[in-house]
Amino acid sequence: MVTSTVLAPPRHYLNDGYGIKSWLLTRDHKRIALLYLASVTIFFFVGGAMAVLIRLDLATPVGDLVSDETYNKLFTMHGVMMVFFFLIPVIPTVLGNFLVPIMIGARDLAFPKINLLSWYIYVIGGLFTLYALVAGGVDTGWTFYTPFSTVSSTTNVIPTALGIFVTGFSSILTGLNFIVTIHRMRAPGMTWFRMPLFLWSTYATSLINVLATPVIAITVLLIAAERVFHFGFFDPRVGGDPVLFQHLFWFYSHPAVYIMVLPAMGVISELVAAGCRKPVFGYSFVAFASLAIAVLGFLVWGHHMFVAGESVYSALIFSILSFLVAIPSAVKVFNWTATMYKGAVSWETPMLYAYGFIGLFTIGGLTGLFLASIGVDVHVTDTYFVIAHFHYIMVGGTIMGYLGGLHYWWPKISGRLYNEGLAKLSAGIIFVGFNLTFFPQFVLGYLGMPRRYHAYPPDFQVLNVLSSAGASILGAGYLIPMVYLMWSLRYGRLAGSNPWGAVGLEWTTASPPPTENFTQTPLVSWEAYDYQPPVEGHVA
């Protein structure tokens, strides 16, 4: 074959086949990542629309926008869509799918067909849930507590439960794929301790995915089956125990919090190293902290039942174990901070999200310790304090991490640069809007405003109006990246293979990468985050 000197446009995964079939039947992990990007974004905005309605209704003390039944359905569908169809899949399926093979120097995930299958399973589960929405919604709360969900509720519990059941298999298959890929597909020289920390946290997340998700699958299946066949597992009239449902539910749903936040922590490790031009401080501590969080996360579910008739001894044990999770979490926060110390700290958009994550995650984590303390928890159970706490983790943590990662890797994914000014502006708007939305909710909860009511005493109105105002700012902040990222696809400047000057295998290949990721299998002979230290005495 004669090498041509004519410059043809380089082949990459985006122009390797056009048309709907080349996308819907693709086995390329990068294209599947984009399929997921489109679908989780849809669910994010549908779930976000519910949040908008909730906050609008709460702008006045009397529930005058929607009826109480509609309000119940709004917060239920908001929770179901955001938790199961956005927060849990978002980072693993979008950034993880795109990056895991590239970061280890592989051509694809171990099971490309199963990867595509998992997207279809996600879509089918999503359709069940959207059907439940258009058929009239569900009013049980995203937690489906029995016996309300099995006996009393007259809404669309069964399609929603089936949607969650089906989507669970998508998580399981994605986790399985990542575990096998990381074990078996690493390029020569890519040892475990040379892997980027994003992969350690993805690996830890995948362990939770394959070991916890089946339990929620069987649990929601039992909910649906109880409604159809009247099994009575959770029905006291035939000897069943409603609290058993709570145990089964939280055995998954507490680890699910770590499914949401661990991948974001992995993203932050990448952003901090690249943004400070330094290796992450205490690499192995951060790596093992991910595994420790995954393991401990399985042992703390009982802190959701402090007021549900749990024995005082179990409550004590669950309280102590919940406190233990703070240790590996704090290891990460301290190590990121230590990485920044004397680093060439950057103020580019991805780093703005990293700063936001570290601050907001710290607040979310510390208020988690309030809730792990039994006495305080009894006082604030089912109040807005809990709402604020977990939104600091899920929105302030997971979404900040996701947006930071999306901005950091966008040039690699699309081959284009976005408008840095607009990106910084929207990062600032999101940070301000987020805090204005959720900080007042800590105060509201501490003062005693319960969650899941559409009316409240007039004394709480000022704080609620602040929160609703913040939500509108936050909503605008989320819309701006949609616009400039789409715009950059066509009009953005070409990024080149390494716009950040970062290290890591993903920056050694073209942007966008070729379908097979690398023209030659990389041979890794360097450690992770191999940034050159600044010359001594260079800065006087």
């Binding site: 995930l109 096998v180 597909m185 009247h230 030659q520």
Partner: protein, 231 residues
Amino acid sequence: MPDAAPHHTAVAGLHPGLAHHFDSVEQQTEATTLGMWVFLGTEVLFFGGLFLVYAIYRTWYPDAFSAASHELDVTLGTINTAVLITSSLTMALAVHAAQLGQRRLLMVFLILTMILGAAFLGIKSLEYYHKFAECPGPACHVPGPAFQFEKAHVRHAQIFFSLYFVMTGLHALHMIIGVGIMTWMLVWAWNGTITKEYYSPIEISGLYWHFVDIVWIFLFPLLYLIGRHGH
């Protein structure tokens, strides 16, 4: 220009079963085997939720579980256990035949495994049929509004029968999927995809089949044999 050549064309004489993104059949075998083990880990937790429910209610209601267990057909249950263990033997022999590249023998053992699996499902359906035929009636053991348990002094028997139907039902679903996988493997054995060098599909299908058998090995005593000793 060797640099631009796709990786897999660099190696000559590749097996047709080798996917493009693996470097060797060994790597692919290791990956698929690990994948199946991870999946079985998921399955353990899936059934684990039900075993937890079982453990709690059996501890709470031992008398109801013992009385209700006596209403199951222990003869059919025992026959089914024997059928399933035999199917595990034929499955193991199928893997052995695949390793030795004995295509005809492999197909025979796969067919035997499928027949035994179908026999298990047939006997299970018969047991289900007997239970449903008694409804509505004084001995209706199908959970629901028509549920009746003759030993009126025993409360909470319905929980046992609910567990019986859910656990054996999900196990049967896994059996049906297993027979489907065996059909697929039979096609691969027939058309020559399975060879002495590339038999991991048979091996990991066997892992799945044995797992489903092991679930039954737990279900049988837990459901059929409660309180049957010392009488």
